[in-house]
Symmetry: C2
Subunit: 333 residues, 2 copies
Amino acid sequence: MAKRPTIHDVAAAAGVSRGTVSRVLNDDRYVSPAAHAAVRRAIAETGYIVNRNARSLVTQRTGSVVMVLSEPHEKVFEDPNYSTTIRTAIRRLGERDVSLVIMLAGDDGDRERVVRYVRGGHADGVLLMSTHAGDPMVDELESMRIPAVACGAVVGKENVIPYAAADDREGARQMTRHLVEQGRRKIATITGPMDTPGGIQRLEGFADVLGRKASRKLIEHGDWTQLSGESAMARLLERTPDLDAVFVASDLMAAGALSTLRAAGRRVPDDVAVGGFDDSSVAATTHPPLTTIRQPLAEVAEETVRLLLALIDGGGPVDPVILPTRLIVRESA
Amino acid sequence: MAKRPTIHDVAAAAGVSRGTVSRVLNDDRYVSPAAHAAVRRAIAETGYIVNRNARSLVTQRTGSVVMVLSEPHEKVFEDPNYSTTIRTAIRRLGERDVSLVIMLAGDDGDRERVVRYVRGGHADGVLLMSTHAGDPMVDELESMRIPAVACGAVVGKENVIPYAAADDREGARQMTRHLVEQGRRKIATITGPMDTPGGIQRLEGFADVLGRKASRKLIEHGDWTQLSGESAMARLLERTPDLDAVFVASDLMAAGALSTLRAAGRRVPDDVAVGGFDDSSVAATTHPPLTTIRQPLAEVAEETVRLLLALIDGGGPVDPVILPTRLIVRESA
DNA sequence: TCTGCTTCTGTGAACGTGCACAGTAGCGCA
DNA sequence: TGCGCTACTGTGCACGTTCACAGAAGCAGA
């Protein structure tokens, strides 16, 4: 690789000093039109590109942001939540010439690596994805005072770490209301893990609508996977064979619930109505297609990035953003 | 943020010089056990972490690798090919303390940004994903002589850019043979885009088995999306209503083909057998479940990363790696 | 003419490393 | 004693920037 031109080369080619070139680069004021033009021309001629390492060394800014994925699950990226957020983040950050580093934080070793990375000053900000309640990594990041935002609230840190999220609670209410309006009387629910905001708030929304009719017997917990949806549905059927509807907190778990119901000989939606959540791609391909709640994933991602950039740019504290969901009626309910 | 300790601080705390600390850090020989211990202790006490920017400045190594995603498609990350590769890359690179930056290269602006990034010396290597034939970006990267490998061959650059890939051609043969063995006589195919290795080679494998029976009439092209599978299937049915099997070059397109077949009143597999490719998650959830070809995605990803690291570590040229596929028989064929 | 202000430019120092080099101490051997 | 070798240590410089500062040039006003 031929030696790359430095700011010195550009200065020489333009017949000015390093300082002037630097000023043009960081578009400072106080540069004469003539000098400005000469520098621009010299940059083009030499093919000069700033060395970010050298710049970072003095500015203490890296021009990159790290996204931390706490989900240890194998298929994280296939989850549209992640997929959309990653893509949006890369795009929006890229527009500002900020690059995105992705790190996994599935186990303690990973988390330690993340902390070391951030403590090493290699990122200007942190974008937290699906961080678990009580994760010590969050405390460490917090203590470093590095700009951090979460995509979806961090349970227990809602007032400390700003976030953008879909209105899980209201979405759950929308679905539950829909089931009630369809004349369903015995409505069960399969929740997500209770240390995730989606797990907690979708259950709360469910309970908001049903009140005391949301008895313990009608609640089962899953872990977002299809398999967990299958087994949770089986447990519900065993305990309450006469249920006539179930609100499942994710489409993937709902797909699992559908197969259990089919295996048990229940017709959907005739015998049992099924409502999902996410409006992910599986929702359209199940049989019957899932009635579900659409999350404004792209908007949530956009907002998350916007918050982070605002934080990095040194604006003061920023407020969480919560975006509305929408009921999508298909055939399962 | 409190000022971070530098190598000077560590040297002072350990009562040695910068040079000795540096030697301990890069575990050079020639440092006495006493000095080594003192430095280790000082590092722990001060909480010292090397500043990679400063290090990069002198070593010309960044400790990071950039993955370039050329697929402009919206859902890239949901594709298991990407998902698995990204996850594997992050994990394997992370083990060596190399971080992964992800960049999109969907349009010209993106590609220019990638070139600028690499030319700026911000990455030690490039990991190409689904690069299109004739992409000028590849030529530019090539001219910079930066270590680069592809996950899946780059069409037209097979001898220039090392890669790891599944044996697409043999996989297509396996499926086509299977269809023949099932007694199918009129076998059609829906291929991927003909500027991708999967598009080309899966068609070649199909033709390998059928020979002259693989007539033009029985070939349609899709673009990997479900929708394109639907319409390609429709065109095939119109042209050759009596076909009794179709090999679809991806599961997602196969899912599309299935809905078209169902809408046309054909029973699968009774009237028409359908074979997919990828063994992605949709394969198991279609009706009927797809008979498909499993690609060793994880192994391909592992090998891709291994090749890149070998290239970066300065070993000479490396050879492409091609890994075997496997027929997964379900119900659609 | 002097002073003060604005606009513009160049220079030296600093950021935190790694590396080449010089140098020291100890030891064995002729 | 002198020489060469090994094991170890410290120092100066370079990497490519930005930033603070010093100054120059031009102009207006007293």
